[in-house]
Amino acid sequence: MRPAPVVRRPLAPALLVLAALVAAVALLAMSAGARWVSPLQWLPMDGSIDAALAWTWRAPRIAAAFFVGACLATSGLIFQGVFRNPLAEPYLLGSAAGAGVGAALALLLPDRVPPALSLPLLAFAGAWAASLVVLAIGRLGGAWSSARLLLAGVAIAAILSALRSLLVMLFGDESTNLRAIVSWQLGGIQTPSTAEAAGFAAILLVLMLAAHRLAFGLDALGLGDEVARTMGIDTSRFVAAAIVVAAMATAFAVAWGGLIGFVGLIVPHVMRWWLGPLHGRLVGACVLGGGALLVLADTVARTAIAPGEIPVGLLTALVGGPFFIALLLLRRAAAAT
């Protein structure tokens, strides 16, 4: 039997569907919470308590959740492209754990440097350094091994998590809010100020442009190092640049959302399944899909046991793990037919 032809979905309608999904999820997130406020009550912006609750408290949090999800998905997409491995993601590669150590330092030592400045910077330094170490181990002996890379990622993540806990034990005292740090470690979206939320848009735009510029090189790497080099790409420099961008995206996500796994794994995976593997087509889709997924997860996290909150990182792992296993099984079934 001749294998069936593959029809890739056109990009523009797919992006429209994703944008509609983001709008629908945002609408739900504005209404849901410890108290349900229907859109008819909050939409008028008439100064009522309901409108104030939705616009002052929920809207910035939704913006932050969208931003964190978009950053995680973008960084997962770039990591998967660089490592040519659909299992790569910031959480599994130790990059998020590196950002976690940096961020923990910033949170534990607030009197030395203001966290607003040190948190993203130290998170970036940690994510970047961890990615470089994992990459170096993956390339040890000259031959590239994807299995060694993932195992190195798991080991580095374990070491860095231990280091982070050690830091919390050594430096966490009454002056630091231990409960906040622990909940941040499990993943929790911080509510930003309006100015910060506006900054997210600018950062996302820069990240998307950078990811778009990397797209052709990531596609070329997928054809093998040698073919990429004959396509005019300086592979070492390219990989270094791509890791800087992916580490930046990880750092922003970790700085605002703590440690949240599986979003960076699942979203690029689903988008690739839907739209094909060319990275240029996946950047916008990952930003919208990652954003929508985390807004939804954050809404569930702050609604399910209201007025308490489930750490959103626990939720993404609980739902994301089985979902990923299902994806793997489906792919296996598809490959067998």
């Binding site: 294998p3 997928g222 054809l223 040698e226 080099r229």
Partner: protein, 256 residues
């Protein structure tokens, strides 16, 4: 187009290519032949700028290979690797989207892949893969094509169809192709360079290079040549495995 002077490649303490001289004109089909480990693929990789030379020079269009800006060099070269495996599940259309220029409809038709565009590359047969990869490599119309055993794993009709494509291209452009099949080299190449032990044994028209004597020296095995149309067939001579004097010998002849 491409010129190598005393090009030498060493890796892991071994000399893979030893003071090799090779000139590839602006048009014509040049075959690199020789036994396993003769250095054919290494010469091709060095010509593509993938393998640095330890000594000697390689120039492309008069400029040393290493001095070309990467993007410009990429546009002048088309490199078809010996083995190719995409890490992602690409369709043929997506593979072609990763060419340095959009392939023309004429090229797709010539490579007979216009009906395969929506197929997954991983599901193609060996012949279809070879043609899809060739179309990707030729999409930007590179002045020099370097193909590493493109006919390996193909059946006889596909081998000859592929060689016909390369020969047609070689009327206007330079094509260098590594071949294991001496019959294909004799039938299709304008010129053949015979390598053994990293050195050039002979370089010239197939009828003068693919002789029983030179082949016996290159392969360390007696070969019988049976002239045919087109080209010639080569088969192991009776007692061919017995020691051959001067195998991989130092002498180098320029058959012209």
């Amino acid at each position: 187009m491409l010129s190598m002077r005393r090009a030498t490649v060493r890796a892991a303490g071994r000399t893979l290519v030893d003071a090799l001289d090779l000139d590839v004109p602006e048009r014509g089909l040049v075959g690199l032949v020789g036994p396993n480990g003769a250095g054919k693929s290494t010469v091709l990789r060095a010509a593509a700028g993938l393998q640095p030379l330890c000594a000697g020079d390689a120039t492309l269009a008069g400029r040393p290979l290493a001095r070309w800006p990467r993007a410009e060099r990429a546009r002048r070269l088309g490199y078809l690797p010996q083995s190719f495996d995409s890490h992602w599940d690409l369709t043929v259309a997506e593979l072609l989207a990763l060419a340095l220029a959009p392939p023309s409809a004429e090229l797709l038709a010539r490579c007979e892949i216009d009906a395969l565009l929506a197929r997954r590359f991983a599901t193609l047969s060996g012949g279809e893969r070879a043609r899809a990869l060739l179309a990707r490599t030729l999409a930007h119309d590179p002045p020099l094509l370097l193909a590493d055993e493109p006919a390996a794993h193909l059946d006889i009709p596909h081998q000859h169809r592929l060689m016909a494509l390369l020969a047609e291209r070689a009327r206007l452009r330079a094509v260098v192709v590594v071949l294991h099949d001496l019959h294909l080299a004799a039938a299709w190449c304008d010129r053949v360079a015979l390598l053994a032990g990293g050195r050039l044994l002979a370089d010239g028209p197939p009828s003068l290079v693919l002789t029983e004597d030179l082949l016996a020296r290159a392969y360390g095995h007696r070969v019988q040549r049976v002239d045919a149309r087109p080209g010639a067939f080569f088969t192991s001579a009776a007692g061919g495995h017995e020691p051959v004097d001067d195998a991989h010998g130092p002498g180098r002849s320029r058959a012209a």
